[in-house]
C-alpha cells in the first residue's frame, strides 16, 4: 500500500502489481486468487466501512457487497489510478454513502469490549472516553469530511490516493482536510465539555 505523502501520480507498488496479476486470474474464474485479495484488502475495507457507518454489521455487509462487485467486475477490470486498492476503497465509500442515505449513523462499539469484569484503571477509562468522544464527533461530521479524515488519517492513505478515491483533486482534498479538522475539533471540544460536565455531576452526587 502506498504511504501518505506520495507524489503527483499514484505510484505502482509491488502489491498493486500483484493485485493486477491476481485480478487476471480472478477474471478467469479462479477462486484462490480471489481469496488472496479478500484476505489482503478485507480488513482495511472493513475498518473504513466501520468508521464511515459506525455499525459493525453494516460494515460487514458493505465489505461483502464490495467483494461481490469485485468478482463480477473482474473480467472487465483494468488497472488504473489508485489500482485495485483504490478501486475497492472507492466502491466501499460509495456503498457507505448509499447506506448513509437510508440509515442514521450510530457510533457504536468500536471500542474493544472488556476482556473480563475487572474494573478498568482510570487511565483506561479516560482513553476509552476520549475515543468514544472522538468517534461521536467523527460520526457527526458531514460525510465528505468524515471520508477524507478516515482515508487520510485513520487509514493513512496518501493524499493522491485519497483524492483519487474521493474523486477530487489533491488541492481540493487538502482544503477539505483543513475544514474537516476544524469542524472535528469544534465537535470534539463540545463532546469533552459534555464529558467534563457529566463527571462533575457524578462527583458531586458521590460527595
Amino acid at each position: 500500500m502506498t504511504i501518505r505523502g506520495a507524489g503527483a501520480g499514484v505510484p505502482e507498488t509491488s502489491e498493486s502489481v500483484e493485485d493486477a496479476i491476481l485480478m487476471r486470474a480472478v477474471a478467469r474464474g479462479e477462486t484462490e486468487p480471489f481469496a488472496v485479495l479478500v484476505r489482503r484488502h478485507g480488513s482495511r475495507l472493513y475498518r473504513i466501512a466501520l468508521r464511515m457507518t459506525g455499525d459493525g454489521s453494516e460494515a460487514e455487509d458493505i465489505v461483502q457487497e464490495c467483494f461481490t462487485r469485485l468478482w463480477q467486475a473482474a473480467p472487465g477490470w483494468q488497472p488504473r489510478g489508485a489500482g485495485l486498492a483504490g478501486w475497492l476503497c472507492r466502491v466501499t465509500m460509495n456503498l457507505c454513502r448509499d447506506r448513509h442515505r437510508r440509515l442514521r449513523i450510530v457510533a457504536d462499539g468500536a471500542i474493544p469490549e472488556r476482556a473480563d469484569d475487572q474494573p478498568l484503571a482510570d487511565r483506561q477509562i479516560e482513553l476509552v472516553e476520549a475515543q468514544q468522544a472522538l468517534l461521536r464527533a467523527l460520526a457527526d461530521l458531514p460525510e465528505r469530511y468524515r471520508g477524507a479524515l478516515v482515508l487520510c488519517y485513520y487509514e493513512g492513505l496518501s493524499n493522491v490516493m485519497a483524492a483519487d478515491i474521493l474523486d477530487l483533486s489533491v488541492k481540493a482534498l487538502e482544503s477539505l482536510l483543513v475544514r474537516a479538522r476544524k469542524q472535528l475539533r469544534t465537535l470534539l471540544e463540545r463532546e469533552q465539555y459534555r464529558i467534563r460536565h457529566v463527571r462533575t455531576e457524578v462527583g458531586e452526587e458521590a460527595a
Binding site: F34, A35, G42, E60, V63, F67, Q131, L135, Y153, L184
Partner: protein, 226 residues
C-alpha cells in the same frame, strides 16, 4: 490524550494532536467468518461440472415436453400405418359389398385391385359389343368417355358410388351380353339412416270439426237450459 492536546494555548494551525488521535483509534480486523463467507460466496459448488438439479417446475416442463414428443410420434406412426395399409377388419363401402356379392367367385380371387377407370375400361372391353340400351348409354362413341343418354334415368348416387369403388376386379363380368345389374341395395341403407317422421300419438277420437260461421248460433242466442 485528546483532552490534553485540545488545550486553549495550543497552536491553532497545529492539528497533529487530532491526527494522532485519529490514527490511534482502534483498528479492528475483519472477522474471519466474514472473509470466509465472502470467499465461499463465489466458490463454485462441489460438482459444478454436473448439471444443477432441476427445480420442480423445470422437471415438470421437461417431462411435458418429452410426453408431447412421444405422443406426436405415436400419432404420426398411427396415421402413417393407417394410410399405407388399411386394417383388414375395416368394412368396405356398401357398394363394394354389393359388387362382390353379384360377381362370380371363379377367377375373382386372382384378380388384382385396380383403379376406377382402369377397372371400368377393362370391364367394358370384356363385355364385348354393346347390345343393351342401358349399356349403350353408358358408353360413348369410339370408346370415349361414357355418355349418359337423356332417356335413361340417371343412376342413383348409391349406384354411382358402387361403380367407382376401387375394389372392382378385372374379368369378373359373368356374361358379356348381360347388362350390369344396377344394385339398389345402397338406397335402403341411406333410407334407414334418414330420420323418419313419427306420427303424432292419438289421444282418442278426433274432435268434431268446428262449425262454420253459418252453422254457429247468432250472437246473444243462448240455448235453453244453460
Amino acid at each position: 490524550m485528546i483532552e490534553q492536546q485540545t488545550r486553549p494555548d495550543r497552536d491553532p494551525d497545529d492539528d497533529s494532536d487530532l491526527i494522532a488521535a485519529l490514527a490511534a483509534l482502534p483498528r479492528p480486523e475483519a472477522p474471519p467468518a466474514l472473509l470466509a463467507r465472502i470467499v465461499q460466496s463465489v466458490e463454485p459448488p462441489a460438482g459444478a461440472a454436473a448439471a444443477p438439479p432441476l427445480r420442480p417446475a423445470q422437471r415438470l416442463a421437461r417431462g411435458a415436453t418429452w410426453g408431447a414428443v412421444a405422443a406426436g410420434l405415436a400419432l404420426g406412426l398411427i396415421l402413417l400405418l393407417g394410410r399405407q395399409a388399411p386394417p383388414p377388419s375395416a368394412a368396405p363401402p356398401p357398394g363394394a359389398q354389393v359388387a362382390a356379392q353379384q360377381l362370380p367367385a371363379a377367377g375373382a380371387a386372382q384378380a388384382p385391385l385396380g383403379k376406377t377407370e382402369t377397372a371400368r375400361s377393362a370391364r367394358l372391353a370384356a363385355a364385348g359389343p354393346v347390345t343393351s340400351r342401358a349399356a349403350a348409354g353408358r358408353t360413348g362413341p369410339e370408346g370415349q368417355a361414357p355418355l349418359i343418354s337423356m332417356d335413361r334415368p340417371a343412376s342413383p348416387p348409391a349406384v354411382a358410388e358402387a361403380e367407382t369403388v376401387p375394389t372392382v376386379q378385372r374379368g369378373a363380368e359373368p356374361e358379356a351380353a348381360t347388362p350390369v345389374p344396377q344394385p339398389v341395395l345402397a338406397q335402403p341403407a341411406v333410407d334407414e339412416a334418414m330420420p323418419r317422421l313419427v306420427e303424432a300419438p292419438s289421444f282418442g277420437p278426433a274432435p268434431a270439426p268446428r262449425p262454420t260461421a253459418s252453422q254457429r248460433p247468432p250472437m246473444g242466442f243462448r240455448p235453453a237450459g244453460n
